[in-house]
Symmetry: C2
Subunit: 227 residues, 2 copies
DNA sequence: TGTTGTGAATCTCTTCACAGCT
DNA sequence: AGCTGTGAAGAGATTCACAACA
């Protein structure tokens, strides 16, 4: 479905805001888990309530897909879910690698294994010889030395980094040199990245300390959290 | 119609932006891990580079503490770290509980145990009888039924939720009724919360799917990630 | 000279408000 | 009547740019 790109945001051109992409991912999950069973239609208001946002924002986000609700009936659940699929997963599935098979790494393997249809966890890497060549949660663990070759061979474009801060940058560099284009970084330090790549950091300490700050009621009324 | 005037950011009054609080937490960690060893002073520019931001933003963030750098010399590392401590940790330490001792929960126990001086993980909860009364990563596991009493007894104000989506809301409700004021939610669904509380969601699926989207180079140049 | 602190400008995201459709 | 799609207003966050200062 090609867009006609009216004005303002424009549908297929321009850079899409990361926040909107994240919410689309959430809407899709809600559509599948909450609304698909009952079938039929949803209103932006219902989706907004489930997602913790506003109806206007849901509609604005859905504009991104050049969508398809009709007034008075709302959106067809199946069609909308398919529309989001097409937009988010455009093209073929992508291979994912996990680097750092510690406590967090193992939890992430368990979490992501067989979860996203289009995102397949294809390999894990660690520099601990005791872990190499074992299979954790259905995922083979390779030595970090094998990363470049394995990443290329398996067509991996995305890496999840769950190593100590001291190794994060060098691991990221290795990944990018091997052809990785996007990184989800759990190491407690930001990583520098080349152009034409994307990195998103999940900083658990920062997240907890932020909650702790506002839990004290410090500084008046709570602002809107990031999620 | 310019309504004018008296605001901008102001130093100690007004509501602090969550993003700024998060970055202060990061600056503190960088000060300790990277800059404290060398001692002396830092420039906003150096801190910005390490944090992956801009010098202007660092200075703007530090205004929040009513701070203390002097031109030409930058900021005293020790003094700045102490300033952030005072601002973020104002008051006494807070107790933290973890709910949901699955793969992710165990990893989070390991991650947070003994990490933050002021935030102490005091209890874990799970509804699986096989896990109850065991000690995981130095943290005693209680039955969910014991949550209200235990949370009150141990003075816990913050909860980390790592349970399946279907249980997240009821767990959150239980926590709030027991006196919890802030929640860090890892369940893949938003939770509704009462006033005067704060919830931050960490949605791993959303994070990975967002990275996957931009890793394809979709929609032109990558926008600024959230971290 | 080189940096801080900060008003003002800019950019981005969210919400409002309403025309148009069913 | 009640919803969608969207221009326009509003709110927030970031960056610019420069006076003050050591």
């Amino acid at each position: 479905m090609v867009r006609a790109a009216r004005n303002t945001v424009s549908c297929a051109t321009g850079k899409p805001p990361a926040k909107t992409i994240g919410r689309l991912s959430l809407y899709r999950r809600l559509l599948r888990d909450l609304f698909a069973p009952r079938g039929g239609n949803v209103y932006s208001r219902e989706l907004a309530e489930a997602a913790g946002g506003t109806a206007a924002q849901v509609r604005r986000d859905l504009m991104m897909l050049g969508c398809s609700g009709c007034p008075r009936r709302g959106y067809d659940v199946q069609e909308l879910a398919r529309g989001i699929d097409e937009y988010l997963d455009a093209g073929k599935g992508q291979g994912v690698a996990l680097v750092g098979v510690g406590n967090l790494g193992r939890a992430l393997i368990a979490f992501f294994s067989g979860r996203c249809s289009k995102l397949e966890l294809r390999a894990a890497f660690d520099n601990d010889p005791a872990k190499v060549d074992r299979v954790v949660g259905g995922c083979k663990v390779y030595s970090i030395d094998e990363l470049p070759g394995t990443v290329r061979k398996l067509g991996i474009r995305i890496a999840i980094i769950a190593v100590p801060a001291s190794e994060a940058q060098s691991v990221a560099d290795t990944c990018f040199r091997a052809g990785v284009r996007g990184i989800l970084n759990f190491a407690p330090t930001p990583v520098q990245v080349p152009d034409r790549t994307y990195v998103s950091g999940v900083d658990l300490t920062m997240a907890l300390e932020t909650v702790a700050f506002f839990a004290k009621g410090a500084g008046g009324r709570s602002p809107k959290p990031d999620a």
